[in-house]
Amino acid sequence: MAHAAPRDYLAAAPGVSPDSPALLSDPAAIGLPPPASPPPSTDGGAGGAAGALDVSSRRIRREQMRLLLRSAPFIVGMVLLLWWVVCAIFGRLFVPYNPVNGSLLQFNLAPSGTHWFGTDSLGRDVLSRVIVGSREILIVSVLATVLGTALGTALGLVMGYFRGIVDNVVGRLVDAVLSLPVVIVALLFVAAVGPSARTLILVIGFVFALIIARTVRTAVLQERELDYIAAARLRDESGAHIMFVEILPNISAPILVEFTVRLGYAIFAIATLSFLGIGIQPPTPDWGADIAASYQYLAAGYWWETLFPALAIASLVVAVNLIADSIEAVVIR
């Protein structure tokens, strides 16, 4: 793990200061005693100050929230993301022009006061299409990621907990699928069942499930060595109980991080597939499809038709990645 505690030999080297900044609720890092040890209890059971050293999970969560709200990348990412969410939900209400039916007389117009982002080869307002184009991609990517995270978590729990043959068989299957680019897998699927939003969600969800399963499996392998799992076995708990009630709550942090990271990839993958013509289908406004329709006119100088949808994709991916990085920095210590 990249976040291993500073090791003593770093401090032992003469003249090297460990200088590790004290992180949030990690009392060891701030030189305070670990919450585990201080208040010695007593046979008298005279009560005392349990909770005085408040490291409750609610407190930690509040602390994490506050740290997130203080981090500039998180705020920037959130603002961008919220903007696109607003566009996705209410975009149709405030677009300046109809994004689907343009005026055929006003095609390929350069950006101006009337058409801020210009118009495309069919005379549709690029700004309006960029605003409305956020809808489909956000819905599909979020659903696909949710599906992938749910499936991947279940799969990872099974692999990590049972290990043995299940782990080996599923593990090799994962390797096999992951050796192919997402786009190729998606192409195969789409060729088989035809393009639709549902196909997209299923394909991306499936591929991501395999990737997420690996991360979850690693986390499970660490957890299952802890004695609380042994204790659960010794009171005859079922495998399902151990996986979902005992282990799952303890690995929520890596799963949350994985979800946000995958969301960024999902957006990018969907845009790519739409660009290739097997993603979101016209006439639904979509950034990837719009780029595909317009990039051949780049040479003719109609740069705005490609640039603005491209910037939209970039801004959304960057926003999600900024959020993902900030969450990872706060959640994983």
Partner: protein
């Protein structure tokens, strides 16, 4: 202010030879915008060739003091008042360059975990030589000095050690290397932060011996930090007792430990199991209440809330360090003359029922063996273990790391399957090798308390959920009956209903272990395996947990297999003891017989290795050589490589002695006849 008393008092004691002078030091950490005092008004001095021990429980601020001396405090920590002077230099005012020099030449530090103090990917030789290169030597001279340095710490084959990577060496050897590095720069001040806490008793004895002998050769002052009072008593001339960031008592070690003059020191000393103390007679006391949360400064005396002697003055007026005795001792207690009269918090003697050793054994192990396969190598962890546990008794299982204690515990409860041919019986019925194959009744009949409650309790579940789940699964209770049992169990482990809603992270170490105990008792087991249940706890908490276990045993008539590396703890609690070495039972007898002898030579070494507060009574037996790897056990008697009483006839090297009964109820695995052992051991003790 009256706090100046100590400064005046001790400055005179040392005069010109002061190496480390801490004067009224406050250390505070900035935690989320608030300054929290972790160390308050700490003053002490260490003279040349003097060894000063800083003792206290976790969270008392010992390590923070050491870090402040070298200015290694975390970024949010600072010395907020007072001054620290090393060799007359004020540490706080040093610039970058001078600070480097201070750390490189004047002060060295040895940490608890030798494995973490060395870089795992660089050979030991390079790392040791580096110390001398920094001191200005060229590469080849430094390499020569490295070898010499290792020789000084009594490493017999320095060449091999220098060519090794840290992971190829044992913990004791690594700690020698680290000490060699620390002494390489011939520092004026050597800080040892729990240098033997991670080591086995026999290895600890070796390292302590080494440090003592090095003090003769090197002209260095030592700041020795430990939670272990006996180690400090053995190693240091002076001691400071820390509590909640304050130095509550300071003075010559022997005097402080023999005539403590602060109620905390008095209480702490009563928590340490000593010779003659047993669970029913001369019980350990405990300190009521809890350590104040870090940064919380109570008005008045820091210990007042937990002190039976405290009155109104103690809760309002902070006691200065009063001079005590001849003036070279101080105690921060308004009533330090009365401190030794501190009333006990718990009764001294209780009546406990005797174990029922006439009936059939509750647990019976025969020919239990476990061989692990590590990369095609067979590693025997347990070899032919035969043990019986009787109703209501405690069988203590003692051994150093690698002796197979924990493997035996896991085999018994069914977490690790034993080799074929092993036979385990619970109340006359055979136990399947794995817990999943055992009946609900059998699972219920035998539970385990793990060493580390942080690992054993699910950190996302509340105390209520943790105990409820065991009541549901093991006792088969639901609804109101379950709630009633829950309340009962919580009371019997002396927790309070308000703890039920908390999660483990909100509890202290002692409370966590109580939750684990409550959970283990939920199904009313007949056998409880306790795998080092107190070794992660502070002594005052340990005392309370040991007494709790003894009381619960009396109440529930449960049988304990109590595993520990700590002989004093086992002596306190166990009725019979089995000593394990490399997976074999070396000695198996009543607790009394194990401690009075004749001892197996290994038991004898273990007994003498443990530093005790009862004064250095016997000549210490220092075992030579390292604990052999279980993968390649020595031929013949497995202990012969380290045995100081090895027979010259060669039989020890060639033939493994059987576990034979030497007197009724006392078995031993040794070629030397017991009468001869007794004679040898009586001469020396």
């Amino acid at each position: 202010m009256s706090t100046d008393v100590s400064a005046v008092g001790t400055a005179g004691r040392l005069g010109e030879t002061v190496v480390l002078d801490a004067a009224h030091v406050d250390v505070s950490y900035n935690v989320r915008g608030t300054e929290r005092l972790a160390v308050r008004d700490v003053s002490f001095q260490i003279g040349r060739r003097e060894s000063f021990g800083l003792v206290g429980e976790s969270g008392s601020g010992k390590t923070t003091v050491a870090l402040a001396v070298t200015r290694y405090l975390a970024r949010n920590g600072r010395v907020s008042a007072g001054s620290i002077t090393v060799n007359g230099q004020d540490v706080a005012s040093l610039g970058r360059h001078d600070l480097r020099l201070l750390r490189a030449r004047t002060v060295s530090m040895v940490y608890q975990e030798p494995g973490r103090a060395l870089n795992p990917s660089i050979k030991v030789g390079r790392q040791v030589a580096e110390v001398f290169e920094i001191a200005g030597l060229n590469r080849s001279d430094a390499a020569g000095r490295a070898e010499e340095a290792l020789r000084k710490v009594q490493i017999s084959d320095p060449g091999r050690v220098l060519r090794s990577y840290p992971h190829q060496l044992s913990g004791g050897m690594l700690q020698r290397v680290v000490i060699a590095m620390a002494l390489g720069a011939e520092p004026n001040l050597l800080i040892l932060d729990e240098p033997t806490t991670a080591l086995d008793a026999t290895v600890e004895a070796e390292i302590l011996e080494l440090i003592s002998s090095l003090r003769e050769d090197f002209n260095t002052a030592i700041l020795f930090i430990s939670h272990n009072l006996a180690v400090i008593a053995k190693m240091c001339e002076r001691v400071g007792v820390m509590y909640a960031g304050e130095l509550v008592e300071e003075g010559p070690a022997r005097e402080v430990f023999e005539q403590p003059r602060h109620p905390y020191t008095v209480g702490l000393l009563r928590c340490i199991p000593r010779r003659g103390q047993r669970k029913d007679h001369g019980r350990l006391d405990s300190i009521p209440g809890f350590l104040p949360a870090p940064g919380e400064v109570p008005a008045g005396c820091v210990f007042a809330q937990r002190c039976a002697l405290a009155d109104d003055r103690c809760t309002t007026e902070s006691p200065p360090p009063y001079p005590v005795g001849d003036g070279d001792r101080t105690s921060r207690c308004h009533y330090h003359e009365r401190a030794p009269l501190l009333p006990r918090a718990t009764p001294e003697d209780v009546r406990l029922p005797a174990p029922d050793s006439d009936a059939a054994p509750v647990i019976s192990l025969r020919r239990v063996a476990k061989t692990f396969t590590v990369r095609n190598d067979k590693v025997p962890a347990l070899v032919d273990v035969d043990l019986d546990l009787y109703l209501g008794e405690t069988l203590g299982l003692v051994g150093e790391s690698g002796s197979g204690k924990t493997t035996l515990a896991r085999v018994l409860v069914g977490l690790t399957p034993p080799d074929a041919g092993s036979s385990l019986e619970l109340e006359g019925s055979a136990l399947a090798p794995l817990a999943t194959k055992r009946s609900r009744e059998q699972l219920k009949g035998m539970q385990i308390i793990f060493q580390n409650p942080d690992s054993a309790l699910n950190r996302r579940h509340s105390v209520r959920h943790l105990i409820d789940r065991s009541l549901t699964k093991l006792a088969g209770l639901t609804g109101a009956a379950r709630e009633q049992s829950l309340q009962e169990i919580v009371r019997s482990v002396r927790m309070e209903p308000r703890h039920l809603g908390l999660r483990p992270s909100q509890l202290s170490g002692g409370l966590k272990q109580r939750v684990a105990i409550a959970r283990a008792f939920a199904g009313r087991p007949s056998v409880l395996v306790c795998d080092e249940p107190t070794s992660a706890l502070d002594v005052s908490v340990q005392a309370a947990i040991l007494n709790l276990l003894a009381d619960l045993q009396a109440k529930e008539r449960v049988t304990y297999l109590f595993i520990s590396h700590d002989l004093a703890v086992v002596r306190y609690l166990a009725d019979r003891i089995a000593v394990l070495y490399l997976g074999r039972v070396m000695e198996y007898a009543s607790a009394e017989a194990v401690f009075t002898g004749p001892h197996h030579p290994y038991t004898e070494a273990l007994l003498s290795a443990v530093p005790s507060l009862d004064g250095a009574l016997r000549e210490r037996i220092i075992l030579s050589g390292e604990i052999p790897s279980p993968a390649q056990p020595p031929s013949g008697c497995v202990f012969h490589t380290r045995c100081p009483r090895r027979l010259s006839s060669g039989i020890c090297e060639s033939t493994e002695p059987p576990l034979a009964e030497v007197e009724p109820g006392h078995s031993m695995r040794c070629h030397i006849p017991p009468s001869e052992l007794r004679a040898l051991q009586q001469i020396e003790s």
